[in-house]
């Protein structure tokens, strides 16, 4: 059996999504900007996809949702445009973000720092989130933008976007959220929260790779990242990727219709998996309160079992998972999110992320539980580190207490 448990990295394309995309590769391949019928034939499908995205996140007609190539492009677009529009020629020079953002935000911020922008990287609390009052305390009259992710890719922890949005509105500061791990996984209602920009990516919710979008509240000014033609109202040039746009619209529609039911179904499997692993394996910890996590995500630490070794054994069992720890990412640093939430250095090298999808089956969950236990048993038998600690008799469960270690 092969089990894919790395759905926060990417997801399979839903067969229904693929089906609606196919005609736009072969039969209706015209350039939608052409005047002739070959081009305009795709307009209804694009229009439908736009409606699907607007509906899924409850955007207003006055808002813009611009298709991009990915969320990395969307994140770059916001940050670099704020630099051009508000910092380079204005009197503001400050961006507030967090230590646990995706590299497309952190690397862009580092780049902007080299250009003279001041960036504050906020730490997360023991639950792995940045609290609204922390954001508030770092906003100054020089702050041009606050950029805080909606949900974390490694822990799944959901950030207090409404509260942060309210603070930004009150302070008159633009607010961007990288919504990649939230859109399509949890309800995102952009009428209910104040956010100026939201980045999203189709391949995180069973759409194709290579297509994303940026939500821009009330069509406000933002210098284009790609200059060129007049595509997407001149906001993002480049010939429209029709099949992928159609796929993204359909994928988001499928992900968000009856989202509460879908979340409940995934959450049930996730909780069963998490509970079984914590119960069966002593000295094992998960990060963050289950109720405040995206319903598909577990970041689990296994005392004495280094991340890459665990990934290796899982891979030998045909299970795809991930780790942000040193060896697997070819980086020497421990898992930065785990360090940020107060895990000790050893535990920060042991984090394994299991992320489910709506296609994950009960049989797959059972398979992972079984194989995971076997892998831990093998690797702990080898472990010098585990040899030094005494396993808790009876496998006592400890959860969400990483900051105590």
């Amino acid at each position: 059996m092969q089990v894919y448990m790395d759905n926060n990295a990417t997801t399979m394309v839903d067969p229904q999504v693929l089906e609606v995309m196919l005609p736009y590769f072969s039969e209706q391949y015209g350039n939608p900007n052409s005047l002739h019928k070959f081009g305009t034939a795709s307009h209804p499908a694009i229009s439908k996809a736009i409606d699907q995205v607007y509906t899924a996140i409850n955007a207003a007609d006055a808002d813009d949702i611009i298709f991009t190539s990915c969320a990395t492009e969307s994140n770059n677009w916001v940050l670099k445009s704020i630099w051009v529009d508000k910092i380079l020629n204005g009197d503001k020079n400050h961006i507030v973000t967090t230590e646990v953002e995706h590299p497309s935000v952190l690397s862009t911020c580092k780049f902007l720092e080299e250009q003279g922008v001041k960036v504050t990287y906020l730490p997360v609390n023991e639950q792995g989130i940045v609290e609204a009052h922390t954001v508030k305390s770092f906003i100054t009259d020089k702050t041009a933008l606050v950029s805080v992710m909606w949900a974390n890719n490694e822990t799944g922890m959901i950030f207090p976007i409404k509260e942060i949005g309210d603070i930004c509105k009150e302070k008159g500061v633009l607010f961007h959220s990288d919504g990649v791990q939230a859109v399509g996984k949890i309800p995102v209602d952009l009428q209910a929260v104040h956010v100026d920009f939201v980045s999203m990516s189709a391949h995180k919710f069973h759409g194709p790779k290579g297509i994303g979008a940026l939500y821009i509240k009330n069509s406000q000014e933002l210098s284009p990242l790609l200059n060129g033609g007049e595509h997407m109202g001149g906001r993002r040039s480049g010939t429209l990727n029709v099949p992928y746009i159609v796929g993204m619209g359909k994928a988001l529609e499928l992900a968000t219709e009856n989202i509460e039911e879908k979340m409940a179904a995934i959450r049930a499997k996730r909780d069963r998996l998490e509970g079984a692993l914590l119960e069966a394996i002593p000295e094992t910890f998960t990060v963050g309160d289950r109720d405040n996590r995206t319903p598909n995500t577990i970041l689990i630490s296994i005392r004495g079992v280094e991340g890459e070794g665990m990934l290796w054994d899982l891979n030998n069992g045909e299970i795809g998972a991930s780790t942000g720890s040193a060896c697997a990412s070819e980086d020497l640093e421990a898992n930065t999110v785990m360090l940020a939430i107060g895990a000790d250095n050893e535990l920060a090298h042991t984090g394994i992320r299991l992320s489910l999808s709506r296609f994950t089956t009960d049989e797959e969950v059972d398979y992972v539980i079984n194989h995971f236990k076997n892998a831990v048993t093998r690797l702990r038998a080898i472990s010098s580190s585990y040899a030094k600690v005494k396993p808790t008799p009876g496998g006592e469960v400890q959860e969400c207490e990483l900051h105590h270690h």
Binding site: G307, W312, S325
Partner: protein
């Protein structure tokens, strides 16, 4: 950056078959107890090295016959990635049957070589080499414990990166052998500077005697000086192809002055050397004709052939003369 680098390969693909086999089935993992060793009339040594905070730690067990100092049995435990497990396993294998004095001579290179499938292909990618270094260090720790001396007494060299235990000599050698130009490359090849980063440059959490930036600069400077000296020697010995650019220009001018220019001047012309460009196939000498030569019809045929033949004969067969 080139075509082959556009898609990064999987780290695991760079592991040798021996590494993957030992990752899955280490042959010497486990413990040796005091009781087991005593029952055989042997001494037990248990040595720890590394730190979980760096993601790698190893515990080495030696059962030693005190009459011969021979390691009769050895096992290990490891907190680390798969390559740490494989390195520890092969390190343990290498120790068995050796005396402590022999074992202490096992280096991380021996460990890595023993993991290769064939002698010319590294067993692990560069960023994983620190795992074999750790295996090497734990042996010294164990030997120190057995002999009642400090493990550092086996280390004659200056350690620059304490986390990865990389010596000054190793760093200088790696920079030279691989023509490294950045600290990032040094970290890729040796792991030095990859952990606490204190040894990278001043300003880290502890002061160091040696910093990678300085070692890199000094070694590169030495390499340049040696290169210049070699080039100067080449100039003396007339080895044109290894001369510096300036030496090449001087050598070409000398040949032209001696054997070419007088014939051009006789016809009211002249020439000058504009530039020299080296490639694998040719040494291109760019020249410009002056005076009558610049409008002479044979300047691109007979005259050019004569100049090129003379330079080829006297300096190098790779020379190609290109008038501009």
């Amino acid at each position: 950056m080139a075509k082959n680098d556009l898609l990064g390969g999987s780290l695991w693909d760079a592991y040798s078959n021996k590494v993957t086999t030992l990752m899955n089935n280490p042959q010497h993992q486990g413990e040796i107890t005091e009781e087991e060793a005593s029952a055989n009339g042997h001494k037990l040594i248990v040595a720890d090295f590394g730190a979980e905070s760096c993601g790698d730690a190893v515990r080495l067990y030696w059962e030693i016959d005190p009459a011969t100092d021979k390691i009769v049995n050895s096992k290990f435990k490891s907190f680390g990635c798969g390559t740490a497990i494989a390195s520890s396993d092969v390190m343990t294998e290498l120790c068995i049957g050796k005396t402590v004095q022999e074992a202490v001579k096992i280096t991380n290179i021996d460990v890595e070589m023993a993991l290769r499938d064939d002698p010319d292909t590294p067993a692990v990618p560069p960023q994983k080499m620190h795992c074999s270094v750790m295996a090497y260090d734990v042996i010294k720790k164990a030997a120190g414990l057995y002999m009642g001396v400090d493990a550092e007494s086996f280390e004659e060299e200056i350690i620059v990166c304490e986390c990865a235990r990389i010596s000054l000599g190793t760093l200088q050698e790696v920079i030279r052998l691989n023509d490294l130009t950045t600290v990032e490359q040094i970290t890729d090849y040796t792991k030095a500077g990859g952990f606490c980063k204190s040894c990278v440059k001043p300003g880290g959490h502890e002061d160091r005697e040696y910093y990678l930036v300085d070692i890199l600069e000094d070694t590169r400077k030495q390499m340049d000086q040696e290169k210049m000296a070699a080039a100067a020697d080449a100039g003396v010995t007339g080895d044109f192809e290894t001369m510096t650019l300036v030496q090449k220009i001087k050598a070409i001018d000398a040949v032209i002055d001696e054997s070419v220019r007088q014939f051009l001047v006789m016809d009211g012309g002249n020439m000058e050397v504009i530039d020299i460009k080296d490639s694998d196939e040719y040494i291109d000498v760019y020249i410009r004709y002056l005076g009558a030569c610049s409008s002479c019809s044979s300047s691109t045929t007979g005259t050019l052939y004569a100049i090129e033949s003379t330079l080829k004969e006297k300096l190098s067969g790779k020379i190609r003369v290109l008038p501009i």
